[in-house]
């Protein structure tokens, strides 16, 4: 093997002290409950005591929730890990052995990355279950599964919110980004490991908040929280705002951390010209996050205040349009936050799988950067149905133009594929499928960018089909490809090729058969957010639901397969894909300190036209590396 591999240094096994320590997660929940009860009681009985008030009011639950969030973060371990040191005490950070590390506060970027991936996967399946309930309800054109329309709408909202803010925004950036970016640029840590350890704890908290929102009442706005409807909704919408606040805060911290990591933590020789495409993708996405997440956070805080005080900011006597503008100002960049890392993943994986240098690398980078920049100019194409005609033109223009830099991802990927030696396995299959799906997502986007067609297709299942093609088809398929690709790195084990391919073909067929019919349903008059619809649409909805269930089962199949491979798969070689990238010179799975000796990067990691290693371990380093 041409690349060098480091064996982890066998450090003395630390003494495991058996103790009666409470499991950190349980302590976090306990502290969270205490925090909630104390603050809630304080607000509802002491600060705002009105006769006959219930124990839980909208104001008290808002502040109580913040206390619960702080209690949770501290209880899991941030108290010893971050707060005590910040106040000048010496906290002792306890860690437990084995899998238990993943259920504790940690400052190690690989543990954090897997915590993010695990939380995202949890969110994906919770929100997926909500989707299954929705499809079940839509099998019949009248209310039969749910008792009330509000229950259906709340399910839609939970599905969308959790998918967007805890999967779409998080899985590739917080999850793969935290795990891979430091490894890819040859660093042992991310820039701010303690902050990162805190930010990951916000994700499960946010997911649980949103998932439990029906306890406060069924809300009806979907993931967009449109005003003024949101200000009429029962208090469940509070948990939407609060949960989204926790999740976006987490993503914001991730972005600050990863941007600083890419800028400041690169190993010697890792110039911007050699930076891996995935690190480029994460950098551009992080910049989008840094600009737009504070924007949406303040928007939601305003909506929250709007309802707590209450203010008429966004009601009929205020300006409902202002909310829409503010929401979509974030909402469209959000779509690229979801998709850009997926585009980068293609460009990361394809050169390895084709044993061929990355084609037109600079165009790939230009594409990522221009998508980032243009994404701030297109928001109003979500509002063609409520803007004055003349305002449509610039947004329509930029919306059509953004397909040019997006197309560069295809330029690079196809150019690399052409005349390569493609290793045709589950990973490359999923990448190709992702490219196919995203192509359909993109092409239907061209139709939607055209105002006159948009006015028919907007707010129908056509749009639903379109964005599921980009997000599931583009991002989730790429996520799965990445999970299979880096599974040997993360777990040291290999998946089963046959099962992987079966699973890939399964979800590909189920996905396309489900969502291609969404386009037809939409054009045939099926509007969104309806649990009851005219009977002529029922047969098609019925069969769409069947395929949707198959799709759900397919994702479950992948989950079980990856879980099984992780625990009991065949032991993988150190570098099964013979990649030249930096992350593969570490042990699999990497030791706590990934690089005992910081490597030196001597060429682009995509130069498969020669057999020279792109990464060397300097011999004057701390420890002598061994070759295998």
């Amino acid at each position: 093997m041409s690349t060098l591999e480091l064996r982890p240094d066998i450090s003395p096994v630390p003494q495991v002290v058996k103790s009666k320590r409470m499991p950190p997660v349980i302590r976090g929940i306990l502290w969270s409950a205490i925090g909630f009860l104390v603050i809630n009681t304080l607000i509802s009985y002491v600060l705002d005591p009105r006769y006959g008030h219930p124990f839980i009011t909208q104001v008290s639950i808002t502040f109580g929730w913040f206390a619960a969030m702080v209690g949770w973060v501290l209880g899991v371990g941030a108290w010893e890990g971050a707060v005590l040191p910040a106040f000048g005490h010496h906290g002792t950070l306890y860690t437990a052995p084995g899998w238990k590390r993943f259920f504790e506060y940690s400052t190690e970027h690989k543990v954090i990355g897997l915590q993010y991936i695990g939380s995202s996967a949890g969110g994906f399946f919770i929100a997926g279950l909500a989707a299954m309930l929705m499809r079940l309800e839509l099998m019949n054109n009248s209310m039969w599964l749910f008792n009330y329309p509000q229950q259906y709408l709340t399910t839609v909202g939970i599905h969308g919110t959790i998918m967007m803010f805890s999967v779409g925004t998080v899985a590739l950036v917080g999850g793969l980004g935290n795990y891979l970016v430091p490894l890819m640029i040859g660093s042992n840590t991310s820039a701010f490991p303690r902050m990162s350890g805190i930010s990951v704890l916000l994700v499960p908290f946010g997911i649980v908040t949103v998932a439990l929102s029906p306890l406060l009442g069924y809300w009806s706005t979907g993931w967009r929280g449109y005003e003024p409807l949101a200000s009429q909704d029962p208090s469940g919408i509070l948990f939407y705002y609060l949960g989204v606040f926790a999740l976006t805060l987490s993503s914001l911290l991730v972005s600050i951390n990863l941007t600083a990591t890419v800028i400041f933590k690169r190993a010697p020789g890792m110039t911007w010209g050699r930076l891996p495409m995935f690190a480029w993708g994460i950098t551009t996405v992080s910049l989008l996050n840094i600009i737009w997440l504070p924007e949406i956070q303040l928007t939601f805080v305003m909506s929250l205040v709007n309802r707590l005080v209450p203010l008429p900011l966004f009601t009929a006597t205020g300006s409902p349009l202002t909310y829409m503008e503010l929401f979509w100002l974030f909402g469209h960049p959000e779509v690229y936050i979801v998709v850009v890392p997926a585009l980068a993943l293609w460009q990361e994986i394809i050169p390895v799988m084709t044993r061929k240098p990355l084609f037109a690398r600079q165009w790939g980078v230009i594409g990522l950067i221009f998508v980032m920049m243009l994404s701030g100019f297109v928001w109003a194409h979500h509002m063609f149905t409520n803007m004055r005609n003349v305002e449509m033109m610039p947004f329509s223009f930029f919306t059509e133009m953004i397909s040019i830099p997006t197309g560069f991802a295809y330029l690079v990927a196809l150019g690399t594929l052409w005349r390569g030696r493609l290793k045709f396995n589950t990973v490359s299959l999923l990448v190709l499928m992702s490219m196919f799906n995203f192509l359909i997502g993109g092409m239907t986007g061209v139709f939607l960018a055209d105002p006159i067609i948009n006015l028919q297709a907007h707010d129908t299942f056509f749009v639903v089909g379109h964005f599921h093609y980009t997000i599931i088809g583009g991002m989730v398929f790429s996520w799965l490809a990445a999970m299979y690709y880096w599974l040997p790195k993360m777990s040291g084990r290999m998946y089963n090729e046959r099962l992987g391919k079966i699973g890939a073909i399964w979800i590909f067929l189920a996905f396309n058969l489900t969502f291609s019919q969404f386009f037809l349903l939409g054009l045939h008059g099926m509007n969104r957010w309806v649990s009851v619809y005219p009977s002529y649409l029922q047969p098609m909805n019925f069969e769409t639901s069947i395929f949707a269930f198959l799709l759900g089962l397919g994702f479950l199949f992948h989950l079980v397969h990856i879980w099984w491979a992780w625990r009991a798969g065949q032991k993988a070689e150190g570098n099964p894909w013979e990649s030249k990238s930096v992350e593969w010179i570490t042990a699999s799975p990497p030791a706590e300190e990934s690089f005992p000796v910081i490597p030196r990067i001597v060429s682009s990691t995509y130069t498969y036209d020669n057999d020279e290693p792109a990464v060397i371990i300097p011999s004057d380093g701390k420890r002598v590396a061994t070759t295998s």
Binding site: V16, V17, I26, V532, P534
Partner: protein, 211 residues
């Protein structure tokens, strides 16, 4: 803030109990799921086990979007009741009809329930003892006497639909009456805004016990 120093803390491995962790998180999951999906069956089961004392004297029914608190009441024939209906919504107006069976209206999408077919209040003497923020009050065939000023919102001619006080957001009304001899299960509901509040779950049940 967003900065870190080199870690000086010792890392000490201290184990914790797997069993506590699993039992704790498992129990919380069960409680969470139960609270989400099983609250209505649980409430019904508790009611059937422990029964419910009939209410009398001053009672309060709160209206929200789109629910009543309480949504189950037990009355007894002959008891004196002074019922305050308070609309706690800040946005929507709400009514409270009591009755059985439904009048319906066919539409192409589905058949819509417009109001109760049998009006509980028919022939019942009712005194309005307090009223504030009323949108309109259809008395239908109830015998209304009023302590508050008769106001334009009181519609006493039959033919405007079933007995129903409709409150503006924040409005409330107090009705005093003796429970008439109509034992059995009755329902109450709000049918306003194109009959949608009933569909959205704004309903309740009254179990009237014989004297």
């Amino acid at each position: 803030m967003a900065n870190e120093e080199p870690q000086e803390k010792k890392k000490v491995e201290v184990d914790w109990s797997r069993r506590q962790f699993l039992i704790g998180t498992g129990a919380l999951t069960v409680v969470g799921l139960g609270a989400m999906f099983l609250n209505e069956p649980v409430a019904a089961a508790v009611r059937s086990v422990f029964g419910q004392q009939p209410e009398s004297g001053p009672i309060t029914v709160l209206q929200g979007d789109y629910f009543y608190i309480p949504n189950y009441m037990t009355w007894r024939v002959g008891d004196q009741i002074s019922m305050t209906i308070h609309n706690t919504s800040t946005t929507h107006f709400h009514e409270m009809q009591i009755g059985r069976g439904f009048n319906t209206m066919p539409t192409a999408l589905q058949t819509i329930r417009t109001q109760f077919a049998e009006d509980f209040w028919k022939g019942v003497p009712v005194t309005i003892t307090a009223a504030q923020g009323i949108d309109n009050f259809v008395t239908n065939e109830a015998k209304i006497s009023s302590d508050v000023h008769p106001t334009p919102w009181l519609l006493t001619q039959p033919g405007n639909g079933g007995f129903s006080p409709t409150m503006k957001p924040g409005g409330q009304i107090t009705l005093s009456f003796t429970v008439p001899n109509k034992p059995g299960i009755w329902h109450y509901a709000c049918f306003v805004q194109g009959y949608m509040h009933w569909l959205a779950g704004m309903r309740g049940t009254i179990n009237i016990l014989p004297a």
